[in-house]
């Protein structure tokens, strides 16, 4: 290590919390060479962001560095005061934050914000600073930099904001740049564009950079070397090629096998086995299955959607005496969709493509403008959502929501959460029968019964996701609408939930509409895929066909933008 830009040795950090002192980092060590791009990969809570914040001196008040050093240009960053760090930050080292919108000052034009950084570290006449701002924007390939410089953050897209963030971080030509999940909130095609720009800018200046991400595939595409972190420790540190050829640590292998793009079928996804309580050992008689109009094999589809449309009022020019010029945004335009019993259909698209609106119209949460929704051949689009909630048909379509935390009432215990739809949608039954049904639903999704008395804040993300699925399955629906049920979860938890959903479909025969932005996940789970773009279905077909022989240009661009893992070698598995 003759040439090292940043050398972190035995970095330990602890947090002061209500439950006492919690060690967050335990002896982190790694080196970064000038011009190198290092990926720090780990799941949430692994301490990857805390590592970055410790190096930058940005830890919050409850955190304390308990040991180690971070040598940068011959100085130990951990021993520097805030005054000295202020001299370094922005000039010698900078950081790109996760959410570009909150990282930018909302009431100042973006150009002025970049100018602030330059003026702070490199004072110059205003005209020179302005020229440098425009140059920085041009390097991020921002069209019409003069006009964009005077724009406010809310006038720019998320991807554009993150480009501004990178331009700001690079404005004073730092030697070290840390990017903390820079593309996590962005669409996959935007992510590819931003990451390409990031890599090019960093390469062109020879900046040593650290990319912090939860996405192993993203890190493998852009980084030279990857550090894998787990619970505050570095478990593996290797060049990209070596890491994927021979992952040494068990956790790295688990992470690799949990990444949907690394496997060909849901069975190959880690974990291999899942503890399922066989119904023979149920501590109660299983509740009798609910009466359902049993569909004849090859019979009518469980759900049929014809020509569904929905538009939202986009902007309304207000005039006091009359309403005029209502601009409408067509969220969903003329969508047809058929789902057969026991089938899994994937609905894929980027944010704003209308997939959430469509799933909410199918679940009868919002009212379509036009078109038909038929449940078991019976039209339900004419029933107002408020009234549909009280009808027996409500039971047949259940939904699992995106954010497992947000979709649970903080004041309901797990038992209450699962029991609530049962008490509302099924005929009145005794307390014992209710408990039996709730317990069966919990066991079905692999939720230990002792968790039933807990509250959402006492559960992990994966457990909350299971509660959400158990709540929907407890009333034995015919169709389960899943709205990005795994997008808020870590990959290893996502793998568990995906396997669970597949098992439920095979055992219970519930049809599933799986809404996601992630083609890789949908490919594993679904028989058929629909690709949505700007409110329309641009392509549909069997999963393998859409994935391997995409017909529409948009599908191809979507597929091309997905970061891929290098080909795993068979030697990787022990």
């Amino acid at each position: 290590m003759s040439e090292t830009l940043l050398s972190v040795r035995d970095l330990s950090v602890e947090f002061r919390t209500r439950h006492g002192i919690v060690p967050v980092l335990r002896g982190i060590s790694f080196d970064l060479a000038p011009g190198e791009m290092l990926g720090i990969v780990g799941e949430s809570g692994s301490g990857k962001s805390v590592t970055a914040y410790s190096v930058m001196g940005l830890l919050e008040a409850s955190a304390r560095v308990t040991g180690g050093q971070a040598l940068f240009g011959g100085r130990d960053l951990l021993r520097l005061g805030q005054g000295a760090l202020n001299q370094l930050r922005g000039a010698e080292m900078s950081i790109v934050f996760q959410n570009p919108r909150t990282a930018l000052n909302p009431i100042r034009p973006v150009g002025a914000q970049i100018a602030d950084v330059i003026a702070r570290h490199d004072p110059a006449p205003a005209a020179i600073i302005e020229a440098r701002v425009l140059e920085a924007l041009r390097q991020m390939r921002i069209a019409e930099p003069e006009r964009r410089a005077s724009a406010y953050p809310f006038e720019l897209s998320g991807g554009m904001c993150q480009r501004i963030g990178i331009a700001m971080a690079l404005a004073c030509s730092p030697k070290l740049l840390i990017a903390d999940e820079p593309t996590t909130g962005l669409d996959v095609t935007t992510q590819a564009a931003v990451m390409d720009l990031f890599r090019d800018a960093v390469r062109a200046r020879g900046v040593g950079s650290i990319l912090i991400t939860h996405d192993l595939a993203l890190a493998s595409e852009y980084c030279d070397r990857i550090v894998v972190m787990q619970t505050g420790q570095v478990v593996e540190d290797a060049p990209v090629a070596a890491l994927f050829a021979r992952p040494r640590h068990a956790y790295t292998r688990k992470l690799l096998r949990s990444t949907p793009s690394s496997v060909d079928s849901i069975e190959a996804l880690a974990p291999d086995e899942e503890p399922v309580a066989p119904s023979a050992t149920l501590p109660f008689p299983a509740p009798a299955p609910l009466p359902t109009q049993a569909p004849a094999p090859g019979g009518p589809p469980v759900l049929e959607v014809r020509g569904l449309c929905k538009s939202y009022v986009h902007s309304r020019s207000r005039a006091f005496w009359r309403r005029r010029e209502v601009a409408r945004l067509q969220a969903v335009a003329d969508v047809d969709l058929v789902i057969h019993p026991g089938e899994a259909v994937g609905l894929v698209g980027e944010s704003g493509c209308g997939k959430s609106t469509l799933s909410r119209m199918i679940s009868r949460l919002i009212q379509p403008d036009a078109g038909e929704v038929l449940l078991d051949g019976a039209p339900i689009h004419g029933i107002a959502p408020g009234r549909f909630a009280r009808l027996p048909q409500r039971r047949q379509i259940q939904m699992v929501f995106q954010d497992p935390t947000e979709s649970l009432n903080p004041r309901f215990s797990v038992f209450d959460a699962i029991a609530d739809p049962v008490t509302q949608l099924l005929p009145r039954q005794g307390a014992a029968a209710l408990r039996a049904r709730v317990e069966q639903a919990a066991l079905q999704v692999g939720l230990p019964l002792e968790l039933l008395n807990r509250y959402p804040h006492q559960l992990s993300g994966g457990q909350k996701a299971r509660v959400g699925i158990a709540r929907a399955m407890a009333v034995e629906p015919r169709l389960l609408v899943l709205d990005e049920p795994t997008s808020a979860l870590d990959v290893s938890v996502q793998a568990v939930v995906l396997k669970l959903l597949t098992r439920l479909r095979r055992q219970q025969g519930v049809a599933q509409l799986f809404v996601s932005h992630d083609l890789n996940v949908v490919r594993l789970l679904c028989d058929r895929i629909l690709v949505m773009h700007k409110g329309r279905v641009v392509e549909s077909g069997p999963a393998e066909q859409v994935f391997n022989r995409p017909a529409h240009a948009y599908t191809r661009s979507l597929l091309a933008a997905i970061p891929r893992l290098p080909q795993l070698q068979e030697a990787a598995t022990p």
Binding site: A389, Q398, E406, N409, P410, R411, Q424, H457, R471
Partner: protein, 281 residues
Amino acid sequence: MREKLALLRYILAGNPVTLLALAMLVLLLGCAILGPALVPYDPIATNTASALQPPSATHWFGTDQLGRDVFSRVVVAARLDLAIAFAAVLLSMALGSVFGAAMGYFRGWLDTAGSRGTDVLMAFPLFVLAMAMVAALGNSVSSVVYATAVINLPFYIRLARAETSIRRDMGYIEAARVGGSGHARILRVFLLPNILPALVVQASVNLGWAVLNTAGLSFIGLGVRAPTPEWGIMVAEGAQFIVSGRWWIAAFPGAALMLAVFCFNLLGDGLRDIVDPRSRT
């Protein structure tokens, strides 16, 4: 339960002022509940022989122009003042939270009408509005309760509406709808319990205002009437004696008022810390 106690201890350790506020609250409530049984003198019995005596060992807070014991009157008055404040705040909280939550949940014309209505109410100088209401409703304790409740109403409507607006599109509300709950049940079971903590914080702060408002009304001769012991009346009566150096008649009930308002405001701060989820990490 044990976890809740541990949380309480953690929060109180970080905010000892809340502990002080709790101690003051216990003192005030103690006066209100047990006061009339404990005080050494009858608060309305006059005794002109011992009028206008300064504080001493027999009369701790001195006596007023009619020879009544100021200490006994200050302690006994706590019951009436706190009862009016609690009743008024509970009334406005109950009405305001339901109405505000319905406005935030249903939006539309109900929200528009309700919001403009609260704006109109807020546009009045609130104390003048309370004066007018007591004058119109008749000079009684219940009028003071109604007037205080009405002038506090906009705060609860606005808060309940804002808190409901944040939550109405959250996943668990949609999940409740998918789970077969109608609008009324969603409001009652899912929304009101979740916005209650914020309302309780607001109520604590409003209690202080309500006490002040009650005292203010009786100070100008509305609502409670002499000789009933009440802090506002006592300050009004004592005010004319301050120039002649008999400060104790007005000062002690004034101090009691200050203590009550101070207590409820500090308590509001403490409750906000307890309710704020960020302190639960």
